[in-house]
Symmetry: C2
Subunit: 517 residues, 2 copies
């Protein structure tokens, strides 16, 4: 592997000229070698408003998980590639969908693509010293080497909870109940989403009963069913059989099931959702009576009973045979939370929002390391998806972050006075800053306005001589500009700016900031 | 680049056998292909106690930065390698100290090694639409492809604040004052550390005056001076001249200064710390009178004046000509926060803890993209170092995280009752869980003890029949075992376990948990 960076070829143009320029740092002749300022494809910069929304969600979900007795754990961004395994459905992407590199000892490392595979490694490494069952939650970035595109990110935040060392269906039910509690804590109304539960043993049992023995063929069936939302029953039918030709002319080879097996699978995935008990009865009729299928049904039945004792309503969590989850490592129950609200895309068309989280049981993932089957189950919040979902359901606060109180700087010799004002406001619990650029009063006001600051403090020579301070209500200015407030009210009740004795600085600012919406 | 993972050669042994094993998941013959459960070199798993300490620090520092009017920003983990630049001192490491890989469009991407280089890229990309000066804070992981070793991590957390678009020395002073406020908010006592300030223009000016014109030679001088702590004056002297042979026999080529220049540099770096005014006077005598040196002195003087108006004491932030900082991109003032407390290593020897943060002015970093000089200054908390520093100064809370109240599970048929108890405790604001493994009462108690749970709830057939609940004080058990509490006090005042009416569950648990330290 080539250890040196490839220099960017050609002569990228700078995107913008710096307005604050003082002097040219590089001669024009060097411009050709300047790197272009841009984010890598599929990576995004995120500003204060979005980050605040995300932090609120992560904190609420983490608090919920802790209240259920789950402890925090954080693993590194990298895992050895062999430890991470290949469980993503992206078999056609570089390194099967992960970002991998070779360390200087020639070992392949890869960035984690979820928080479950690193947990399995951690548990295998530390099993002897862990309390069992081991219950942990984790949040952090995960990376997937997917094909980037508009709105398709290759880095996102997940927040997971897992119970390792319990094979009880009650552990699955608890994970589902916690997910429901987590969505509530994050502020998602219960009618906005549904949590769908299935068990891979049902479909596996059905396939075994239909004579399908190959694991590869079973996986191909799972992946075909996973595309039901996107391709519909007819598309899935093709993928279960010989294969499917898409609009672009590309052919996807199918699972090669015979007609009878294809029909069984389609009958199964169409057995539909509804009340948990009713769905269980319908499923009993279409799983073909295999031992594995029966075991899966019995597990679902115990999960249903436990969900009832957790108070999880039939409308919040239901059994749905069409849910399979894309990751290969699930061995039993699988869960998927789906936003029901439709949102509107840039072109105004209604779009299904889809999955906002999911999980399941993965009893073989620790055994990859230890050779000993270790039952495990968990759920993962797609945090970035949830931020977007809250925005889509109108539950997110505005994503614009408010700026600080800005102290206008007039005179180099008076900087100490301005800093004293800012310090006094901060001591009173307000955010405040002295303007530190080089600009006149109007530009400083424009700056405060762009920061969405609630107020500006003016301490000119007149104010200093008179022992006073002037505070300007910037929200009022914005409201006037937007036509929200009329001039009359402005003159009578909200003067726009107040000059007060310097000793009343904090009270005067508070009165104005308190009005800020 | 080879797109496929290299499979681990040989037959790694599993580290542990799973105690909860139910059946063999893989035949013994497959053991040879099992991956070994281990963290990549230089990466660590972190448990609840350490994470809680880190989150407290990050939240305190972020709140401080927001109160100064800095807004949150987060950039992606990856940057294009050309955008990131090569500013690390690790010229001899793979990819000069960063983790890099080639994307599927053949562009080189690298994980960020700090939060400053991505900020420069962000600012260059968005300059036109940003409020100016642009003030942002950020926290997150950074990655360095350093040589791993015991206690030397290649992934760590930084928390930065930067002001871009202000060349005022007051902006540098504000950054220093904020760092001091951040350390205070994080709980570090002011006598535990010092913030040292220097200006690269002093040494640059001195070198220019001594006839050193080459940038490479100046950088070599900076890097030699940066090793003062580790090698002492004598070692630095060698590195300023022809070079130095270390204990292992490796020769490091020096900066090739002549004797007079070496002596000037040594006199400069020995000009010592102390009161800010006194140091400025001493420095005036050793910088050789170049224009750049004079400009550097004037900046330091204004920084000193602003620090006084911020109320930053002479003992908290001082001028020290031996501070240079390893990163190449600094152009003027540089800052370094150093823990004064000595800590003790595993062998019992006193060790200097060293740097817990630093920063400086980097007026050319945005110009790499735009060609226009854009003044910028910032400070970075080494969060992981600060967690360790707080522990070393005895200011960290215990790193052991408390577990939840554990509801003992006796009877499959009674799970709903146990879940109801846990739900009731959670609704009252307590963390609680039902034991979900398969184990007897003693093993369940042992589990609760390993989780450092304050209490266990026992709801056996007797309790259920009598409408009662028994709550066991687990801290008392631990204290008895540690000899902290004697038997007499135990019998008279702290009964160890209480049986109460079921309706008094919450009050009974609260009384015991409230005693927990």
């Amino acid at each position: 592997m080539n250890r040196s960076f490839r220099l960017a070829p050609g002569a990228p143009k700078p995107l913008s000229a710096a307005a604050m320029a003082s002097d040219k740092a590089t001669p024009a002749a060097e411009a050709a070698e300047r790197p272009r300022a841009r984010t890598p494809r599929g990576f995004a910069d995120r500003r204060a408003g979005e980050l605040a929304a995300e932090r609120r969600i992560v904190e609420a979900v983490a608090r919920t998980y802790e209240s259920y007795g789950f402890e925090a754990l954080e693993t590194g961004a990298f895992e050895y590639a062999d430890a991470l395994g290949k469980f993503l459905p992206d078999a056609d992407r570089p390194n099967e969908g992960v970002f991998a590199l070779r360390d200087d000892d020639e070992e392949w490392m890869a960035l984690r693509y979820d928080l479950t595979a690193p947990l399995a490694r951690f548990v295998a490494q530390n099993w002897e010293t862990l309390p069992k069952p081991f219950r942990r939650y984790a949040f952090g970035k995960v990376w997937r080497n997917e094909k980037p595109g508009p709105g398709r990110y290759r880095e996102f935040v997940q927040c997971d909870a897992d119970t390792v060392g319990s094979g009880r269906p009650e552990a699955d039910a608890e994970i589902i109940a916690m997910a429901v509690a987590g969505y509530a804590a994050a502020g998602l109304p219960r009618e906005a989403y549904q949590l769908k539960i299935n068990n891979r043993k049902l479909l596996n049992g059905l396939l075994t009963a239909a004579g399908v023995a190959s694991e590869g063929q079973k996986l191909a069936v799972l992946r075909a069913v996973d595309k039901l939302d996107r391709l519909g029953l007819q598309g899935v039918k093709l993928l279960l059989g010989e294969g499917r030709l898409d609009e672009s002319g590309a052919f996807t080879r199918g699972a090669q099931l015979d007609h009878a097996a294809v029909d069984s699978v389609l009958a199964f995935v169409s057995a539909g959702a509804g009340g948990r008990e009713a769905t269980l009865s319908r499923l009993a009729n279409v799983i073909g009576g295999s031992a594995e299928g029966e075991a899966g049904l019995a597990e679902l039945s115990r999960i249903g009973a436990a969900l009832a004792s957790f108070g999880v309503g039939e409308d919040q969590a239901l059994f749905d045979p069409s849910v399979v989850r894309g990751l290969e490592y699930y061995t039993g129950p699988v869960f998927e939370a789906e936003l029901l609200a439709e949102t509107v895309d840039e072109a105004g068309a209604a779009v299904r929002f889809g999955s906002i989280g999911g999980g399941g049981r993965y009893d073989d993932l620790v055994a990859r390391f230890t050779g000993e089957r270790t039952p495990a189950t968990g759920f993962s919040f797609g945090v970035s998806r949830l931020v977007a979902a809250l925005a889509a359901t109108g539950r997110a606060d505005g994503l614009a972050a408010r700026g600080p109180v800005v102290v206008i700087a007039f005179d180099e010799a008076r900087m100490a006075d301005y800093f004293a004002v800012a310090a006094e406001l901060r001591a009173a619990g307000l955010s405040a800053e002295v303007f530190l650029g080089q600009a006149g009063m109007r530009a400083q006001m424009r700056y405060a306005d762009r920061r969405l600051s609630p107020a500006a403090v003016i301490l000119g020579e007149d104010e200093i001589a008179a022992g006073q301070v002037t505070v300007k209500d910037l929200d009022l200015g914005r409201e006037l500009a937007a036509g929200v407030t009329d001039n009359k009210a402005w003159r009578e009740e909200r003067p726009g700016q107040v000059t007060a004795p310097r000793a009343e600085l904090v009270a005067t600012v508070r009165a104005i900031v308190g009005r800020a919406r």
